[in-house]
């Protein structure tokens, strides 16, 4: 999944940067192309069966009282908009929406995005050895499976974790980070994990910024910040949109990291929508209500995407 998004990300980034446009194919070529795609058909059908199928099923169940046990398990009833009515009066959902936004803005938009951009900018023009080393370190965090990074951070921030051992040794005292500031803990962990992706996207984008434009600006006496703000950033604008969109959608659905580190707690203090959805469906057995929350998540993703596309639209 991650891998596929990454590839798609590079493609999109490349497309956004304006790859070469191929000439319009003729009728024979079109036919040849469609026969060539025939071997893809089984994959497409599998996707429809096993990807679209569950999506449609979850939309359907969000209008029922489907459950894991009790009456809702034996005969799920159509309850219309009941789940959605409940959704908007449930303080845990309101809290979950807020936490999800905090998590996405904190760890993706600010954390991964800015840190990734900063690293990419700092690495520009450095020697190969430094670039290689920094790149390898940052990417290694991204290569780790999600559950492993979650455990690393659990072990680092937990009550008897590394951080507390260090602070105790220094005489500062300790605190249980996962309990006292669960959101901060998961935001830092997710930033750590995902920065590499943004860095790679920005590395690629910055490599395509023409040097002569930079030099011209420098000759005109523009300061470093001014060159970054007025020259570099506008030139990589589409890479920024693509990156923001991808990491936002990815971060919106982060579940494993949070579930392993805090399980959404204490209370509901770190129950972002994916965790809340899991709790409702599998801990409290209310599958119908859980799927309604997943649709809400989808809507929030759509809002973010819409905002990015509008705000960061390339100037005509």
């Amino acid at each position: 999944m991650k891998f596929r998004t990454a590839i798609a990300g590079e493609d999109l980034a490349a497309a956004a940067l304006g790859g070469p446009t191929s000439p319009r194919p003729g009728r024979a070529a079109r036919l040849a192309r469609s026969t060539r795609q025939l071997p893809l058909a089984p994959a497409l059908i599998m996707l429809i069966l096993f990807f679209l199928g569950p999506v449609l099923w979850s939309i359907y169940s969000s209008f029922t009282n489907a459950a894991l046990t009790g009456d809702g398990a034996a005969n799920p009833q159509w309850v219309g908009l009941e789940n959605f009515r409940r959704l908007f009066s449930d303080p845990n959902v309101t809290n979950g929406i807020w936490l999800t936004v905090v998590f996405v803005v904190g760890s993706a938009v600010i954390g991964q995005n800015l840190l990734g951009l900063a690293i990419a900018l700092l690495m520009r023009g450095r020697n190969r050895w430094l670039r290689g080393t920094v790149g390898a370190i940052v990417v290694s965090a991204w290569v780790l499976p999600e559950v492993v990074s979650a455990f690393i951070w659990y072990a680092f921030l937990g009550q008897d974790g590394t951080l507390n051992q260090v602070t105790k040794a220094l005489g500062i005292g300790s605190q249980d980070w996962l309990y006292s500031s669960p959101m901060l803990a998961v935001i830092i962990a997710n930033t750590w994990r995902g920065t590499a992706f943004s860095m790679l996207v920005y590395n690629a984008a910055l490599a395509d910024v023409p040097l002569d434009v930079q030099e011209a600006a420098e000759l005109d006496g523009a300061s470093g910040w001014r060159r970054l703000w007025s020259v570099t950033l506008p030139l990589i604008r589409s890479a920024i949109v693509t990156n923001l969109m991808l990491i936002t959608l990815q971060t919106l659905s982060v579940f494993t990291l949070i579930y392993v580190m805090t399980a959404g707690g204490p209370g509901f203090a770190s129950s972002t929508l994916p965790v809340l959805m899991y709790q409702q469906a599998f801990k409290f057995s209310e599958v119908g209500y859980g799927t309604a929350i997943s649709l809400l998540l989808l809507a929030i993703g759509a809002v973010f995407s819409f905002v990015y596309v509008r705000v960061l639209k390339p100037e005509a």
């Binding site: 059908i45 599998m46 046990t69 009790g70 009456d71 398990a73 707690g265 509901f268 057995s285």
Partner: protein
């Protein structure tokens, strides 16, 4: 092109489905049948596993050609319920015999996951040894019986005699009210700040354990029930409910318990029974009769000195009113799933697993209170564990949970309220308010009534 491909895929899918159908029918059709038995095995809870291993050997010896496949599910309590519900939902994953908590059984009966056992029980001579209260534990609203009880349990206070004596409390200790319990905990804290004065389970990770060992051991000692069988309504808000939450708040915010973060670890039950009590780091523990099973020679953490180190006291009611003391009882059953393909064999397995000898050895090992009359009156059982007499003696003051399908959801809402209070996120009043809202959503507003105020 697409539609042709789609047809092909459908054909392929049909073939695949056909193949699995064939393979499953052939495996159950031939002589060598396999019976799947699912149960929980987690941390200190190892006695069910030992019992099933033993019954498996007996059953396989008595039924040549039949294989018992044990499926010990190694997860915490709340995850176990989810897991078995998911397994029982599909015939390809449903076990034949399932270990069911009586707290969940009504809900699972209504979900259609279980098979009525009446036709088997009517021909099972041992069934007459089960008293009516035990038989009722797994009876559905339709009057049919869906499980055979393995044993029952009661709950009370364990205390470390040494730690309480040092804190100046006279032995044997028998608190008369909640205030006495808190006073003893405070005395322990004042005497030795290194000791955890008291443990009361609270919060979502312990699941039903929190609701029953923690909250209901308080609530059922107040004027207000969880559910009024007289008015047939769930009771909230009530003074009893908010007083119970207030007790938790006093205990947790007063530093008389484990820290909330320790309490919210799903392993807390294993830590309490396996470490804190044996290491004399915990003075008072509000817990179930089965905990002693952890310390027997076959237990997860053998501790020969437990019976001289620990004393037991009945949990007092809030102000000593009513019968003065109280307890809660639950227990587990063995049931046959509705999707089982070998129901007759599964029923025979249960009859063997819970015959007199096997019931007795399981009840002794796991600190259960026997439900079979012939086991309960057997001197070997009575003398097996020094606490058997004490915990059996609580039966006259014990309470049972409302046996309705909605109960597991109500229990979840109680855990949410407890967790909000012990973490300081809500006041008892606010937590009760959200609980009342959740309760109305679960059982319908017309089935909720306020208690005393």
């Amino acid at each position: 092109m697409l539609s042709k491909g789609l047809r092909l895929a459908c054909a392929g899918a049909a073939v695949a489905v056909g193949l699995t159908a064939c393979s499953s029918s052939s495996s159950s059709g031939s002589g060598g049948k396999t019976l799947k038995v699912a149960y929980q095995k987690f941390g200190n809870e190892i006695h069910v596993d030992a019992h099933m291993q033993k019954v498996k050997a007996q059953f396989e010896a008595a039924h040549p050609g039949i294989k018992i496949q044990l499926d010990p599910i190694n997860v915490s309590e709340n995850d176990y319920y989810t897991k078995i519900d998911l397994m029982m939902g599909s015939s390809s994953t449903a076990p034949d015999v399932v270990y069911e908590d009586t707290f969940l059984i009504n809900s699972d009966i209504q979900a259609g996951y279980l098979t009525p056992l009446d036709s088997y029980l009517s021909t099972w001579s041992d069934w007459s040894q089960f008293p009516d209260t035990a038989k009722a534990a797994a009876r559905g609203l339709d009057g049919k019986t869906y499980g055979v009880p393995m044993g029952t349990d009661t709950r009370a206070l364990y205390y470390n005699k040494d730690l309480l004596t040092k804190a100046g409390i006279a032995m044997p200790w028998q608190p008369k009210s909640w205030a006495d319990v808190l006073a003893a905990a405070k005395a322990v804290k004042a005497n030795d700040p290194g000791v955890i004065p008291m443990n009361i389970y609270a919060g979502k990770p312990d699941g039903e354990g929190s609701t029953m060992q923690g909250f209901e051991m308080l609530l059922y000692g107040t004027q207000d029930p969880l559910y009024s069988s007289a008015s047939k309504k769930w009771i909230s808000p009530s003074k009893g409910f908010s007083d119970s939450l207030q007790f938790l708040k006093d205990a947790y915010s007063g530093g008389l318990t484990l820290s909330p973060q320790q309490e919210l670890d799903p392993n807390v039950g294993n830590v309490v029974g396996g470490q804190l009590l044996p290491q004399s780091k915990l003075a008072i523990d509000l817990d179930g009769s089965w905990v002693t099973g952890t310390w027997t020679p076959t237990g997860a953490k053998p501790w020969p000195a437990w019976s001289s180190t620990l004393g037991e006291a009945a949990m007092p009611t809030q102000d000593g009113g009513g019968k003065g003391t109280m307890s809660m009882s639950g227990g587990w059953t063995l049931s046959v799933t509705a999707k089982s393909k070998n129901k007759d064999l599964a029923a025979q397995f249960i009859e063997l697993a819970l015959n007199k000898d096997n019931s007795a050895s399981y009840d002794v090992a796991d600190g259960q209170i026997a439900v079979r009359n012939d086991v309960a009156t057997d001197p070997t059982y009575q003398n097996s564990n020094p606490t058997t007499a004490f915990f059996t003696g609580l039966v006259p003051v014990t309470n049972y949970r409302p046996a309705y399908a909605e109960y597991p959801k109500v229990s979840d809402a109680i855990q949410v309220a407890m967790e909000a209070v012990i973490t300081g996120q809500s006041s008892p009043a606010d937590a009760m308010k959200s609980y009342t809202e959740s309760l109305k959503g679960i059982v319908g507003s017309s089935n909720v009534a306020a208690g005393t105020s």
